[in-house]
């Protein structure tokens, strides 16, 4: 492969959307109401659509005979480089929305910058995806406010979710070697520079939702290096079930 860094850089972006999309898709038929069920699966579909564009491009860069499906479905756990936040489970609807919100704010800032990439394929995917992600961000932000500034019970549950998931936010701003190489070439986004804007925005919305901003300074990391939480194996088992049971099947 001529451009290993670019390949890994694309996976770093795409894996977040794949794994988060899988989590949102789990709510298909299980959402708390028909409307939220449809919304979560719509969001999942947007994310999978974006992922296809990224993996098609990654397959072209890798140029080793693998297709977008092989890259999406046939890697081992340690080869997925999504952030830990994306793989956290749907403990309850507050966790689902908190996880999505904490990712959406990042995703929006990230894609806004990626539009300026010197790599025209990545810039095109970013421009396309950003329109969709602005809807995702509206949806999750609404739920943060609605549950945070809702009943005593909904407030407490949303606060618990934010407190638990907070520990995974800092990893969003860690750079891998591939990130650094791509930033130097004007292709990648320097995520370290998104951090201040991210916490400003998240904190403002939490305050509006009458939630307290967690004070913990302890942060979990590892996903970007392929070292995942205990939830990842179960997620992949479901995601990869068909390909492992019926190898090379298509529909």
């Amino acid at each position: 492969m001529n451009n290993t860094n670019l390949y890994h850089y694309i996976l770093g972006i795409a894996d977040n959307s794949l794994i988060l999309g899988q989590r949102m898709g789990e709510l298909c038929g299980h959402g708390p109401s028909l409307e939220t069920d449809i919304a979560c699966t719509n969001i999942s579909l947007d994310l999978f659509g974006q992922v296809r564009s990224y993996y098609q491009y990654a397959a072209k860069i890798a140029n080793d005979g693998r297709t977008e499906d092989d890259i999406a479905m046939l890697r081992k756990e340690r080869e997925y480089v999504n952030v830990l936040l994306a793989e956290q489970p749907n403990t309850d609807f507050a966790y689902t929305m908190a996880r999505h919100f904490l990712f959406d704010v990042y995703h929006f800032l990230f894609l806004t910058e990626l539009q300026k990439s010197k790599d025209l394929t990545l810039a095109a995917i970013a421009t396309k995806s950003l329109k969709e992600v602005s809807y995702h961000q509206r949806f999750s932000t609404d739920w943060i406010k609605r549950l945070g500034d809702g009943t005593e019970e909904s407030h407490q549950r949303m606060q618990n979710a934010i407190n638990d998931l907070w520990t995974y936010t800092d990893e969003l701003f860690h750079q891998t070697d591939a990130d650094k190489a791509m930033v130097a070439e004007g292709i990648g986004v320097d995520v370290t520079r998104l951090k201040a804007a991210y916490y400003d925005k998240v904190n403002a919305i939490l305050e509006e939702a009458t939630l307290s901003i967690p004070e913990s300074k302890y942060f979990q990391k590892g996903g970007k290096k392929g070292i995942h939480t205990e939830h990842m194996g179960y997620l992949l088992t479901e995601l990869q079930y068909m390909q492992r049971t019926y190898p090379n099947m298509e529909w």
């Binding site: 409307e35 719509n42 947007d46 974006q50 995917i125």
Partner: protein, 166 residues
Amino acid sequence: MITSQQHIDPKLIAILETVSDPEIPVLSIMDMGVVRTAIIEDEVVKVQITPTYSGCPAMDVIGDDIKKALQDAGYKSEVELILTPAWTTDWITPRGRKALEDYGIAAPLGPEADKDVLLHGKRLVKCPQCGSINTKMVSQFGSTACKAQFQCEDCLEPFDYFKCLK
């Protein structure tokens, strides 16, 4: 060079107008604005289409339907999916907007009005059944990625609103 211009050979327009979005059968892909290029090169029709939403599952079907329609008209064709420039609801033609309304889907408003409707609950979307604007949003996400769910408070009918995408 990024351009929002379409390049369509006039000979092909009538053929392409017979292909419709499988999820909104009244709307031809030409009126939807997803066909960006259709030119004849060395007796092969080269078609470029752009998705409305990244995950739109209709794109594969639309690609196959285009090939079939062109084949029936005696052309060989190649269909390519492009992402730039990104599709916008501005590319839906006036005839397409009317087809949506007749079918029971409210056509997209402008981006500012869209924001007022989806974020601040203003009543601007016209009910495609009775024409009242006394309508409310039920959910920002509807039966497909491109639509939101609405309900008319006068005739009580639920309906889809085609979200503005810029």
